[in-house]
Symmetry: C2
Subunit: 225 residues, 2 copies
DNA sequence: CTTCGCTTCAAATGAGCATTTCAAATGCCA
DNA sequence: TGGCATTTGAAATGCTCATTTGAAGCGAAG
């Protein structure tokens, strides 16, 4: 067999370059020429090793996802037997840290895929997201106690996931809108991941508790109208 | 002068078609040819009327944004003198309804612009988003009372905005991942905008209250670690 | 009727890009 | 060393797309 060192080397270099570029410019925005240039490989290499741009895209995401999940295990090391609140803390911490990790390109790619789907990652994403959502559903269900209905679980999950996912989005927005005035006074959103984690946990626990302790049987219908 | 009917008609048709297509496929994903085909105009018309694809893009977003903000006034009709809680309800309701309005294409475009920026909308977006954020900052500051620090305001704003923006994102994700199994049992996320609005309001008020009533002077640092 | 703007049209131009091709290089086994 | 499979290289192919061009169409003013 061929040497691992050289032979797999260019394949690996291409994969790495592709991950970075796809994360920054998206599928349509990156050219195989650019990937090969960054990887110091010939233009034909990506077809030789991956069969085409499409397959490279899928492979790049998959490898980025595995690397990312490897650095940040779900639940953040909290035992699955721990009480629900501790597991929620772990879940939130894990997701936010994973998203904020500058080496984790997989969420950038997912974000673009959601905004402007190529359709190439559908299967790969389904497999990877589903288990994490199941865990969260279980945790939220326990915390809701008697108020555990499918609808309440869905809504609370939405609130939590939204808070975890958006810091990166908002960060990008601020970075984008900041262009013109480089000195915009205080930092728009604190870059301190730890602070964001603590805040999301506190905010979410309070939100869930409010619903769990809700008196009225029906949801409080619009009052401001 | 020429008739308004015919002459401005094709310009208008192009703008409308462009808005729809840009919202569905993004800047890079829509071709000038497709826009003209949908608008029943000649391929040269977009350069004639707008000067190029770039300018058409900006103009399409601007018109979509104006139309959207017109249908859904900020604060949702609540008086600026109303108490903070009522204004928060109005703000949240307005944003979620605007985002969920199937005729509002502007948020689709913004979403893509955030995920995969063209850089063409930076100025236009800055002008439009800033006032709404200022309103929210003021409201949240009032609700935080003594705990009103720039950091707390930033974090709470993030939580609220995230919850408002994400229903559409999650909806898209479910729609995307659903492809394979057309009958996936119960609806993934309730399409009932009213329910989402009520939930986000309840969840957010509880979250803000928890921070406003926080005992410890410092944020509760990581405990699960 | 003719001329003059404004608008539409079909075809052409030219750039960017993914993919192919085939020749050269490189390392491996006998 | 010489054949053989794997890998790399540079140029070519063929496609899509934004933009340009120059020739009509067309209503109104002279």
């Amino acid at each position: 067999m061929k040497t691992d060192a050289m032979s797999h080397d260019t394949r690996e270099r291409i994969l790495q370059a592709a991950t970075q570029l796809f994360a920054e410019f998206g599928y349509r925005g990156t050219t195989v020429a650019a990937v090969c240039r960054m990887a110091s490989a010939n233009i034909a290499a990506v077809n030789y090793y991956f069969g085409g741009k499409d397959a490279l895209y899928v492979e790049a995401w998959r490898s980025a996802f595995l690397a990312s999940i490897n650095r940040h295990p779900p639940l953040g090391g909290v035992s699955p037997e721990a009480p629900a609140e501790a597991r929620l803390r772990g879940w939130i911490r894990s997701l936010i840290e994973r998203i904020s990790d500058p080496d984790s390109c997989d969420f950038e790619i997912v974000h673009m895929e959601l905004a402007n789907p190529t359709g190439l990652l559908t299967n790969a994403m389904r497999e990877s997201i589903s288990p994490m959502e199941k865990m969260l559903a279980q945790i939220v269900g326990e915390l809701l106690g008697k108020k555990k209905t499918p609808e309440n679980i869905q809504l609370c999950m939405m609130s939590i996931q939204a808070q975890c996912l958006n810091p990166r989005v908002l960060g990008k927005r601020h970075q984008m809108l900041k262009q013109e005035r480089p000195k915009a006074g205080p930092e728009p959103l604190s870059c301190d991941v730890e602070k964001i984690v603590d805040h999301v946990i506190e905010f979410s626990l309070a939100g869930i508790a409010a619903i769990a302790n809700r008196k009225s049987p029906a949801t409080p219908r619009r009052k401001g109208k």
